[in-house]
Amino acid sequence: MSTLPDQQNAAPQSSSGQRGARSAVVIGGNRIPFARSGGPYAQASNQEMLTAALDGLVARFGLQGERVGEVAAGAVLKHSRDFNLTREAVLGSALAADTPAYDVQQACATGLETVIGLSNKIKLGQIESGIAGGVDSASDAPVAVSEGLRRVLLELARARSTPQKLAALRKLRPVDLKPNAPTTAEPRTGLSMGEHQAITTSRWNISRRAQDELALASHANMAAAYDRGFFDDLVTPFRGVSRDGNLRADTSLEKLGSLKPVFGRNLTGEATMTAGNSTPLTDGAAAVLLGSEDYARKHNLPMLANVVDAEAAAVDFVHGKEGLLMAPVYAMPRLLQRNDMTFEDFDFFEIHEAFASTVLSSLAAWEDEDFCRTQLGLSGALGTVDRTKLNVNGSSLAAGHPFAATGARIVASLAKSLAEKGSGRGLISVCAAGGQGVVAILEARRP
């Protein structure tokens, strides 16, 4: 049948794998500048920061009093009282009070997952518009009581008589009074994310210099993007801060090279991961406005890029079969295959810089024929990412990484890059705690 290929060609390429669904469009984004933990946002709660990010988005696009289809956001470090964090932020924002909202939590992939979830609802016609986002405060993190104290307190609450209450209290031990400070340690291994990554860094022989070079590029690219006004319509100042506090426009390989390693010091071989090539604990919030084409047209809103497709993956890091942050490496070939694409089809690569070596390990894995054959089940290497297309406006090493906010930061920046270029595609890769990872494709709107 000669007509079949023509029909396939007539369908927009972006809809491969999702034929029949309509487009979900990135309209724009807004975030507050990210700040180092314990800094200018030390007194700001997740709810305040998320509300500020929403209000900036509302102001940018004139959404005051509007009922948005749905708002999805989340936080990784979350107080139990914030069970309805996103809905509470909506109620405190300039959006209409009858805008529904839900929370998502997928560690560092939270923000990207909210974009994917709402995009899918838009594609299915369930909603016309949505705001995706995330927030995290390492400053205002919840501090939990010990397991022993928690059990005693619960038993105390259940006790009816005084003897029962005294019996409950007698079970309390001095050690139970020590609070559990929040950590980024994996529950099943007790290792911090940095120590996990150090294992992977060593496995892929990622050099100190390569990591420092990547960190330097991130800072230089982001500083240049600020200077050319790239973030003028992506960032709204908060509490007197107007640029990301972690950004060091004047850093250099010498300065980065002078920092002492902080992770992997107990491993054999050279420790290479420093505070300069790892992201610091960060406070911040970000949001992305999504909509159908109809919605954007009806409201005279810009259409920056289409959300094409996404894929999640997870790896078994617990038994040491794979590195904690390597899941995106596995998600990537599945996404590319489904969309019949290769790295050559992309003009921008946004690979979240949890650590410089996370990015470099991923790139190395995709270039490694043996790894791709045995671990990814491919016939050869997946391919090489053109480094000139990688994180061209800086990424988490420069901006900092408020866990759940990073995905929305990346989506908004990438969508704007694609709109500026006027053509092409962008690939997003975000690693997450628990051995998870999410990758996604955005595509420029055809003029």
Partner: protein, 446 residues
């Protein structure tokens, strides 16, 4: 900034003491409220020309209590003095003396408005003398009025008669509380352009306005008033002011656009935003401005250049793009913020006065090019306005500065915003190239 002195002298027992001692006695000004009458009492219409009767008829249409003569001791809210056919200085005495006899009965917040013609090169010396005499009379009368009353004039351009839309619009503005801090000023109506707004309550309905420097102070107030008057708002300020800008935009139901007006592509970004989101632009308010005060002897390059760059060079560049763009609509209005410092000068402000005088020059030259186009450009020159900026002036200097006007108090950002909104309305489409001072007839300056 609270005017403590104003509050004190309006409360017993200090009001009596202030009166006995001959101290300044500023009163709270009559400002616009949607449900308040246009004027606080009957309107006296004086004049002998044929237009006088037409003017009285117009005021009757506005449901005002119009009088051609006052009964003894009758209180009145405003007087409109029609002098459009003056030919000789001798003709002034009758109307002004009649006005003078009743002046003690002008209610607080009252208004005197003269309607006359400007001096031009084509008229006889005696006509010119008569017309110029109105200027001196009015400015002196404004200084005699108390109780927050003001006196202002309308000048009719060539071929413009008292029935022109912008004459009626200007008269309405001057009679209303919207002109509370405009005193001793003349507004020239140069053409028959313009039309009364479809809605008196929402005179800017359907018009889209850009306000620069919108994050705080006078700019934020201009946004609020333009929105009150029905305009769609694009609030512009530098990215660093984005947090307040977002709040201003959200309160006004508008959009926030973070752009530094000195950026080379500022005009393109503003026009693109207006075209995409609102289908075009009708009103451009150049409010963004900075001060970097120093005596000239201590002035450095950075202070001088930054003030000129923000206050006037950005306006020049943006206007050039605006006026060559189809996205700036055919009846578009540009309103530029000048300053009385740019008219009278101010110690320590050579750079600022240069920029603001430059704005006035720019407005006049641009206006000449816009004649007949349907577009207009005008300036508003604030005097002493109670803002964060003036709150930083040392106490004694600030107290003196406040009392230096005929209204013996500082103006509010609202007063500036009202003037901007008026000049941005179709009511003012016949006004072009004017500099409207909002200064309470400050003693310094023209």
């Amino acid at each position: 900034m609270t005017d403590t002195y104003l509050n004190l002298v309006n409360a017993q027992p200090l009001s009596r003491i202030a009166k006995a001692a001959g101290l300044p006695r500023p009163v709270p000004l009559r400002r616009y409220a949607p449900d308040a009458p246009l004027v606080p009492g009957p309107v006296l219409v004086l004049g002998r020309s044929r237009s006088t009767q037409d003017m009285a008829a117009t005021l009757l249409e506005w449901n005002l209590d119009v009088r051609r003569h006052l009964r003894p001791k009758e209180k009145f809210g405003a007087a409109v003095v029609v002098l459009d056919d003056l030919a000789h200085p001798g003709e002034l005495s009758e109307v002004f003396l009649e006005l003078g006899h009743g002046l003690r009965n002008l209610l607080p917040g009252g208004r005197i408005v003269t309607i006359s013609r400007p001096v031009t090169s084509e008229i006889s010396p005696q006509t010119a003398a008569a017309r110029q005499a109105v200027d001196g009379t009015l400015r002196s009368l404004a200084k005699e009025l108390r109780g927050g009353a003001t006196a202002n004039g309308i000048l009719l351009g060539e071929g413009v008669n008292t029935g022109a839309p912008s004459v009626r619009g200007t008269l309405e503005f001057l009679l209303s509380g919207k002109s509370a801090y405009v005193d001793g000023q003349f507004i020239a109506v140069g053409s028959d352009h313009g039309a009364p707004p479809r809605s008196a309550e929402l005179p800017l309905a359907g018009r889209t306005a850009v306000v620069t420097g919108a994050a705080r102070g006078i700019g934020a107030e201009i946004v609020r008033v333009l929105r009150r008057d029905g305009a769609h708002i694009i609030a512009v300020d530098v990215p660093a002011a984005g947090e307040q800008l977002a709040q201003v935009a959200n309160h006004a139901g508008g959009t926030a656009l973070q752009v530094d007006v000195t950026a080379p592509d500022a005009a393109e970004r503003i026009l693109r935003h207006a075209a995409t989101r609102y289908g075009g632009l009708d009103i451009m308010v150049h409010n963004a401005g900075i001060t970097r005060d120093r005596l000239l002897a201590n002035m450095d390059q950075a202070r001088w250049s930054s003030v000129l760059a923000v206050n006037v060079e950005s306006q020049l560049r943006i206007n050039e793009k605006l006026l060559s763009s189809d996205h700036f609509n055919s009846n578009g209005s540009i309103v530029c913020l000048a300053s009385t410092s740019g008219i009278a000068g101010n110690r320590g402000q050579t750079n600022y006065a240069a920029s603001k005088a430059g704005v006035i020059g720019m407005v006049r030259a641009t206006a000449d090019a816009l004649v007949g186009s349907g577009r207009t450009i005008n300036a508003v020159a604030p005097g002493f306005i109670e803002t964060d900026m003036t709150a930083r002036i040392p106490f004694a200097t600030r107290e003196v500065a406040r009392r230096l006007s005929s209204l013996q108090q500082g103006g509010l950002p609202l007063d500036v915003a009202e003037a901007v909104s008026f000049l941005a309305s179709t009511n003012a489409a016949g006004i072009n190239g004017q500099v409207l001072r909002v200064c309470g007839q400050n003693l310094v300056g023209a």
